[in-house]
């Protein structure tokens, strides 16, 4: 298994990732990366859920 498949550990640095997002404020689509979050000095909260059209 390559290193990129490993699960990130608590207290460790999270490898960069990209998520293609729908941004309701801009009503537009855009990619968001962890790198740009770090550059902006912002905290990131990821909130995973199984599927749209279900409860969260």
């Amino acid at each position: 298994m390559s290193e990129s498949c490993e699960t990130v550990k608590m207290g460790h640095s999270v490898p960069d990732f990209t998520l293609n997002c729908y941004d309701p404020k801009a009503h537009d689509f855009r990619p968001v990366t962890l790198a740009e979050q770090k550059k902006a000095g912002k905290w990131t909260i990821l909130f995973f859920y199984p599927a749209d059209f279900t409860f969260v």
């Binding site: 640095s13 999270v14 997002c21 979050q37 905290w43 990131t44 909260i45 599927a51």
Partner: protein, 131 residues
């Protein structure tokens, strides 16, 4: 609080738009809705469920320097509580500034009692919490 909330599922960003548009519960949503169609990011955080190809209900807090500070994973049928999340998030922000302190279980917000581990506290946590 200078944080970016991104919700993530294996749906596309286009499905996110359609869901946001159709579901009245989401009318006021302002957070980013991320797409993890290939499950890459879900795998990275250990919430990928091979059998269903879906992500478990995981919440992760990442500091501005990229460090993973908090992880919580609920099974498919348990919803999350925003108050629980906010308590942890506030504690993470506080502890990022004061790494030598600890936020005990009853800590709710800045100003509440914290603990400073050291020789004097060994066997005296009760006194430290109640003094």
């Amino acid at each position: 609080m200078g944080a970016t909330l991104i919700t993530v599922s294996t749906d596309t960003e286009f499905t996110h738009l359609a869901w946001k548009r159709d579901e009245k519960e989401l009318a006021d949503v302002k957070y980013l809705m991320g797409s993890d169609v290939n499950g890459k990011v879900s795998r990275l955080f250990g919430v990928w469920d091979e059998d269903s190809g879906l992500a478990l209900r995981g919440t992760f807090i990442i500091a501005p320097d990229g460090t993973l500070f908090n992880a919580e994973v609920n099974f498919f049928n348990m919803g999350r509580n925003v108050d629980e999340l906010m308590r942890k998030f506030k504690a993470n922000i506080y502890l990022a500034k004061k790494a030598d302190e600890g936020c005990p279980s009853k800590w709710k917000e800045e100003g509440d009692k914290t603990l400073r581990p050291g020789p004097e506290m060994v066997g005296k946590v009760h006194e430290a919490l109640n003094d």
